[in-house]
């Protein structure tokens, strides 16, 4: 269509690298629109991981034999590659976790439990994922700190006047989602970070839905901490990233203890090793790190700018097509630069779970539920919604299939 760029993504070629997208159920090819939950993994990433197991597998932490050296180098190189990808200052600022959720918990336990007190407030948004909402809520309960939520307005955007009101000298940390996994809203995270810094508060950004599909520069945002998951960015499950500014990480105590993270241990006490290893005790996800490295290479090969444009176009297209249906209610902003690649909606008279089951009869994979944002759904006044979320390999034709399947639901439930 008209606004497609000259150097748009070659979706056909990309799809070749995903055999899973050729799968059929009952003779119908899968239409995978559940990418906000997890993305599919391209062959080069799967190959990198199987090559690692076939050729270089060993434990890391500087074993003296050849294989351990290779594994250690690959594991360390993955940190360097991710640091470069998000413009961090080297591997010291890149901690490998299990996922975004663990990144949130790592900070909440090691910083929050130690530093928060009853005078402090933790400022979240009403569109936080449970990964951050539940974590800060529980840490606040233990420390006596209070939790405040920046309002979401009728358009599905953050009320920034309310943010400016809430963030004050009592604020210890602002934890905000970069792209909402329910509303699709792209939040002004540098502005939120500036507000936090004006009041000497920290900023933590949940980038689970941002890093996969847009260029993210942690320096430009100036976030103190930033977390994301490998499995939502064409990488494997079992690995995530917590970025933190080096000086802050240096002052922080780990919350998981064990081997591989220490400098010196006596029967009485221990001292911590270098960054980032002091936060990665025990045997880490080595093959997954190799896979994440390959995923970052693969994404940058396509180009994060182009991926962002592709997603924005698909989201705008899906929004417009669904908007044209009178019995469909969509949540979050209209298509445009502040709508990421997903659309949550409800079809009047059909519960989201029923609709999603009917979609599944057409082998269309979408998600129904509260998408781990229960308080936000309470606010929207619906128990659940159906979410279609896109990635580099999705097409307009797939969105057409989704819209066409609505008719089936209407017929059954009429």
């Amino acid at each position: 269509m008209s606004h497609q760029q000259a150097d748009a993504i070659d979706v056909g070629a990309i799809r070749e690298e995903f055999p899973i997208l050729q799968r059929e159920f009952d003779g119908q090819q899968v239409v995978y629109l559940d990418n906000a939950a997890t993305t599919q993994t391209p062959d080069p990433v799967v190959d990198a991981m199987s090559d690692y197991y076939r050729e270089s597998n060993a434990n890391v932490h500087r074993g003296i034999h050849h294989l351990s050296q290779e594994a250690s180098e690959a594991y360390e190189a993955a940190h360097d590659r991710v640091a470069e990808f998000i413009n961090a200052d080297g591997r010291e600022e890149v901690i490998f976790t299990k996922n975004t959720t663990e990144g949130e918990n790592l900070l909440a336990y090691s910083w929050g439990l130690a530093e928060l007190s009853p005078e402090d407030t933790v400022v979240l948004t009403e569109m936080e994922h449970h990964a951050s909402l539940v974590t800060w809520q529980q840490i606040a309960k233990r420390t006596g700190a209070s939790v405040e939520y920046i309002r979401v307005d009728e358009t599905g955007r953050l009320d920034m006047d309310h943010a400016a009101e809430l963030i004050d000298d009592d604020t210890a940390i602002v934890s905000a989602v970069h792209v909402s996994n329910t509303l699709g809203t792209v939040n002004p995270v540098s502005e939120l970070t500036d507000l936090a810094h004006e009041h000497d508060a920290l900023s933590f950004i949940d980038g689970a839905q941002a890093v996969p599909n847009r260029p993210v520069d942690v320096k430009e945002i100036d976030a103190d901490f930033y977390a994301f998951s490998g499995h939502k960015m064409a990488g494997p499950t079992g690995i995530g990233v917590l970025y933190g500014k080096r000086d802050l990480l240096e002052d922080l105590n780990p919350y998981l203890y064990g081997g591989g993270m220490i400098r010196k241990v006596t029967f009485e006490d221990s001292t911590w090793g270098e960054l980032p290893w002091k936060f990665e005790p025990g045997t880490p996800p080595i093959a997954e790190a190799v896979g994440l490295h390959a995923a970052v290479d693969w994404l940058e090969d396509i180009g994060m700018d182009r991926i962002e444009t592709h997603e924005e176009e698909l989201a705008a297209y899906a929004y417009d097509r669904l908007e044209a249906e009178e019995d469909v209610e969509i949540y979050g902003p209209e298509g445009g630069p502040d709508r990421g690649g997903l659309v949550s909606f409800n079809l009047e008279g059909v519960h989201a779970h029923d609709l999603t089951s009917i979609m599944n009869d057409h082998t269309i994979a979408v998600r129904a539920g509260d998408h781990c944002t229960q308080p936000l759904h309470d606010k929207l006044g619906v128990p659940a919604s159906t979410r279609a979320s896109f990635y580099v390999y999705n097409t307009r034709e797939e969105i057409d299939k989704l819209v066409a399947a609505l008719d089936d639901a209407r017929q059954l439930f009429a």
Partner: protein
């Protein structure tokens, strides 16, 4: 168009669109509520037991009437509607002996694994209500576990 889900056979849709015994009883012997937190399905079951056979044995009492109210997906609501008819004339014992296979048999369709908790909500609410009535359980609200 699609083949139409096996899960949405006429019977299910009929019970969803025209629920039987929908509402609340004026003088229920026991009442209980429950929910599927993730789906937002919510169901209240009112059960009236027959007054005659009151020989002190709660479990042998006969169910005279059942009504349900609430809202949620087609599977949970149709299941409650069918159960409300099915239970009439059964004993409390028979209610307590029901398991998920009985519910799925009653529905007469294949229920995909992720939707089983929708299907069994009404049955669990009725059973918990009966156990509370018998003094063997103490919960305010039944919730089906969410594996996500």
């Amino acid at each position: 168009m699609g083949l139409g889900s096996d899960m949405y056979r006429q019977q299910i849709l009929d019970h969803y669109k025209n629920p039987r015994n929908y509402g609340q009883l004026e003088d229920p012997t026991f009442t209980h509520i429950g929910e599927n937190p993730m789906c937002g399905d919510e169901i209240r079951m009112d059960v009236k037991l027959a007054e005659d056979g009151d020989d002190g044995d709660d479990s042998a009492e006969t169910i005279e009437r059942v009504a349900f109210s609430g809202d949620g997906c087609a599977i949970s609501q149709a299941s409650a509607s069918m159960l409300s008819s099915e239970l009439r004339g059964k004993t409390v014992d028979e209610l307590l002996e029901m398991d998920r296979d009985d519910v799925i048999d009653m529905l007469g369709v294949d229920i995909s694994p992720m939707r089983v908790k929708c299907a069994v909500l009404a049955e669990k609410v009725a059973q918990d209500g009966a156990e509370i009535y018998q003094g063997e359980l103490d919960v305010e609200k039944t919730t089906t576990e969410d594996d996500e």
